[in-house]
Subunit: 246 residues, 2 copies
């Protein structure tokens, strides 16, 4: 007897949706079952390329497609909120590409709506599932580096400047923090929990998005995180976790 | 005709004074001429070891030693102010080990006193004279990395914890900032000038000194520095200088 195949829907068929479909293709018990794009040609081409059974030119139509187990939201940042809300209101489980939304108010509402509809909601933060992160948590749990007191992490790359480029485009929720600052932040919150104080500085460029963002987070029990994200410099993109044993 | 030999006096004969004397020994036109320590044996032994002509058991006595061109202050941080002031009031040039003093009020007074007495006063910040720093300034001046917008630097080492150890001893002006935080700070100020905003967080340990210190400095023209110093972790101790060209 074979296991049931998990049926994915996808909203937004850009670069990341292609990567997602390619990932699903190597899994035995999952398939991309239905996709939706506001650009008709994109939906059709995508469906053909990955053998998707159903494709739609409206996100609303996708809601009424029977047999979908969860929808992956792969639209630009600024649309995550409305796309996710649409699914949740239809009681459809959601895996939303990071960042969840562009501010805390939106996220609160998404979480509340998921609860109210008893629906699954998750942010697609892939680094959480990296073997290296699992290993780090294991090392910490086993007291290999002692009591962790400092985390220093950065994520930075020099994007080719183009005002239309997603990361520089304010209307699309561009900027370093939402796009990549989320990774070092995630690591600090994963290990230390909730900060009790945040100091930060952002440097905005000509398109008014934060091109560089630096943060100092203070946590209970004298723990600290020093984080940096930028879209205008190739930084080492590495993390240091310092504990009492090294 | 040989050049005149520059006569150094030294106040405080600890580890750094030995390094200073060893450095002077390889110079042709300088010598350690007189030293003073409040520990009589130290003064005598130091004088013998480095062929110093005069040695004193009181700093005050050193002030009346004829023929000294400048005095190097090598006492612990908390004494820099009073030792420097003593020399300046006697119109003797001073090279004071870093940090200059333990707060801004003291530094202001030292500078004012040097001016009032028309005397030379300098902080012994060795990194300013490293060939690598000269090279960095040259690269920036020649526009090799473009407009510098971000500096990220750290200095950290894991000191063996001992409440009596100078760096952990609050009474001796211990802590990460004064001892080593000064180096990344120096680099940021050297390249960017005066910051218009400073955000910082210090984590104090059981001896009430800052064991870790993180800083975000904002400078005019959208420039930023992210700095970190610690005496409880071996950090890479490196600096990144990011400009518009790389």
């Amino acid at each position: 007897m074979t296991k049931k195949t998990f049926h994915w829907g996808i909203i937004g068929l850009g670069k990341i949706a292609h990567k997602f479909a390619q990932g699903i293709a190597v899994l035995e018990n999952a398939s991309v079952y239905a996709v939706a794009s506001r650009t008709p040609k994109k939906a059709k081409d995508f469906a053909r390329q990955y053998n998707v059974e159903f494709y739609y030119n409206s996100y609303e139509d996708l809601m009424y497609c029977d047999g979908i187990d969860a929808i992956y939201i792969a639209t630009p940042h600024v649309f995550h909120f409305e796309n996710t809300m649409l699914c949740l209101r239809h009681k459809i489980a959601v895996l939303c590409e990071k960042p969840f939304a562009i501010n805390n108010r939106q996220v609160q509402k998404m979480v509340a709506t998921a609860k109210a509809n008893n629906t699954f909601l998750m942010e697609a933060l892939w680094t959480r599932f990296l073997p290296s992160i699992e290993k780090v948590l294991e090392l910490i749990a086993n007291d290999v580096i002692g009591e962790v007191h400092t985390i220093k992490a950065d994520f930075g790359f020099k994007a080719k400047f183009d005002p239309q480029n997603r990361v520089f485009n304010n209307a699309l929720g561009g900027g370093a923090l939402l796009d990549i600052g989320i990774y070092p932040l995630f690591l600090a919150l994963l290990i230390f929990g909730k900060p009790n104080n945040i100091q930060a500085s952002a440097k905005t460029g000509t398109t008014y998005v934060d091109e560089t963002c630096a943060m100092i987070l203070d946590f209970p029990k004298n723990k600290i995180a020093i984080l940096h994200a930028t879209i205008i410099a190739d930084t080492p993109t590495e993390a240091f976790i310092y504990g009492s044993k090294g």
